[in-house]
Amino acid sequence: MKPFDFQRADRLEHAAQLCADEGTRAIAGGTNLIDLMKLQVETPQTLVDIHRLPLGRIDDTDDGGLRIGALATNTATAVHERVRREYPLLARAILAGASQQLRNKATTGGNLCQRTRCYYFTNIDQPCNKREPGSGCGALKGVARLHAVLGTSDECIATYPGDMAVAMAALGAVVEIADAKGHTRNVPVRDFHCLPGDTPWRDNVLEDGEIITAVILPPPVAGRQLYRKVRERSSYAFAMVSVAAIVALEDGRFTRADLAFGGLAHKPWQDPRLSALLLGKEPSAKLFDEAADVLLDGAQSYGENAYKIPLARRTLTAVLAEATGMEL
């Protein structure tokens, strides 16, 4: 690990001021950042320890939603009584990720900001436009088993690796962000992460000097909530494909179909055309197939990850069938 200055922030504004420097990283749980520092993928000049800032609470909001503090651990969120009862999708997504040891340390804000597990990104001997802009993308014609099939660019085909944010995207959650001047802004989770385009080093919309303070869940909605994660072993592995779904039917027709997908793109993937297609229609194998056509319209594979396109189709179909009680 490269030497760094270590500062403890006791106030949010102080932390944000310190983080305004490009070479500074905030550290909370550290489960991803320390790993990347050991690999010298991350070489911050200064680490700002924010883990004792008072951002760990999970509180009801006035409108009946839930405000999950940026420093609430993944465990605290997954076991929270209201999360389990009213947002089971989120509890399921968190529990499907990592190990208990990691979830005990990992925080809400850190989980949103976790970096890709692309093998080329984490190996400093390999080219990677995300880690070293302009060096090329090793995965494009290399080992790409876990890589993206939607929203890719010639610069980067990495995936966003997390589960929590996929559920939050489907739930319509909002990221609350503060800066050093005490200003806050809210960004929907669906707009928080970026597609790689020609700026693949940019994972999300956070600017230098901004710190996530919370994720706000809207009031719970009626419907069936499901999170299905397909992976190479049944525990402690990243998603090849995951589907988060909130589905409701009335009189046998879709009245809600909020869907988000993990493992397919550089961000939790959502496509407004899906709910537009499904709403008002009766569930059927044919309809689910049409939904998969919409989802995968424009999908592009890179050798080893070609399996993801049929896998996404089947996983979406299975989730819609389970959510609507259909036997396929």
Binding site: M1, P3, F4, D5, F6, I27, G30, T31, I34, D35, K38, L47, D49, H51, T75, A78, V79, R84, R85, P88, A91, R92, L95, A96, A98, S99, Q100, Q101, L102, N104, K105, S234, S235, Y236
Partner: protein, 168 residues
């Protein structure tokens, strides 16, 4: 603020790069906690921080000022082993033994998590009651790898302790 490890207090290391794992092993001479992968994948370095299990390899010692850490040395001694330590011996819950301290620290916290009613990915219901089944133990212990493959005996040891606590 100092750090408390197995009821003894220590000053934090001067080098802020030192992980909690290296601090325990190299600075304090507590080699029970093991370094396996050093990347949070194998769980050999599992310790308890205020009762919660974490990977000590992915945590800076400097960030544990004021925390209470329990390592395998703090759970029991050869003369007075903890119930899990005793059960691992009785069930042969290891072969080479390198992952064992992490397995036992992890299992110690896991039984408390189940007692708390916390669900896992293997739980049918998120709201309980939580059961100690083989499937639950395998899922909840998935952050601890055993390259010798002593999993069957590790699960048996944990089941034994859970059953004894249930009967108590």
């Amino acid at each position: 603020m100092p750090i408390t490890i197995n009821s003894q207090t220590y000053d934090l290391p001067e080098d802020n790069r030192v992980t909690l794992l290296d601090f325990l092993r190299h600075d304090l001479g507590l080699p029970g906690t093991k370094k396996g992968c050093d990347h949070g994948q194998c769980g050999a370095c599992t310790v308890l921080v205020d009762g919660m299990r974490i990977n000590s390899c992915l945590s800076l010692a400097a960030m544990h000022d004021g925390d209470h850490i329990t390592t395998i040395e703090g759970l029991g001694t050869p003369a007075a082993p903890s119930k899990l330590q005793q059960a691992f011996v009785e069930h042969d819950g290891y072969q080479c033994g390198y992952c064992t301290p992490g397995q036992i620290c992890s299992a110690t916290a896991m039984l408390q998590e189940i007692a708390n009613g916390w669900p896992s990915d293997a739980s049918d219901s998120l709201e309980g009651p939580m059961v100690v089944s083989g499937a639950e133990i395998r899922e909840r212990m998935s952050g601890n790898l055993c390259r010798c493959g002593a999993y069957a005996n590790i699960v048996a040891a944990i089941e034994d302790v859970a059953a004894a606590e249930d009967a108590a």
